[in-house]
Subunit: 100 residues, 2 copies
DNA sequence: TTGGGTTGCTACACATAGAGTAGCAAGGTG
DNA sequence: CACCTTGCTACTCTATGTGTAGCAACCCAA
């Protein structure tokens, strides 16, 4: 019985709304549940809790009771992978704004 | 009046279900609507059409009537950016399968 | 010890996004 | 003309996400 490819699995996870945003908000420092909530523009606790559950299962975040939620090493690695996306995105937006 | 940051905009787009998959399926060769549909496991035309509309608006794909849908240069650039994700994903899955 | 403030989280009702199926109009081919 | 494929729309139903209220556990000061 085989799993689906790793890339498919992570793409599924990252395609859930708020997942990337949550990872991004944890980039610098651990945050408590409620800090995360307001960092994401008062994201509803229903969704936040659900995403945090997924992220913990994926071992991308942990919940250190004294510090709050924080990225694991894996989580930080993912963030690194996403860095080039930012540069691409800027070029993309510029090209889009330009005339056809 | 300012747009939201480029990175946020592309993350929003990529967070819609099937968007990455569609880009992926177009990686090698143009596909017709129906080829794309079956490449994505008989994705419903409702969603496929909607995603293709978004992707065309984002200038990541074009619809060449004689060849079908294909990636633009921008689209192919995005695919390049995603390549490191694949390697990360494999390491991630391995670590996840391993004991805590 | 009591009142206030956190904390993480659940319950529930409502809204939007996606899935599944049918089928149409346009075009090409025999 | 009959028959195929094309891209796509209409429709219904389910999954996913949103918004608000509020609870139990904890800490801290009076």
């Amino acid at each position: 019985m085989n799993q689906k490819p790793a890339i498919a699995e992570i793409v599924d996870l990252l395609s859930r709304k708020w997942v990337m945003r949550i990872i991004w908000e944890l980039r610098a420092t651990p945050l408590t549940f409620r800090q995360l909530q307001s960092a994401c523009g008062d994201l509803s606790p229903t969704v936040l809790n659900n995403r945090l559950k997924l992220l913990r299962e994926a071992r991308l975040t942990t919940n250190n009771p004294s510090q709050g939620y924080e990225l694991t090493d894996m989580g930080r690695g993912l963030l690194d992978v996403y860095k080039p996306l930012n540069e691409w995105a800027i070029a993309w937006q510029a090209a889009r704004t330009a005339p056809p």
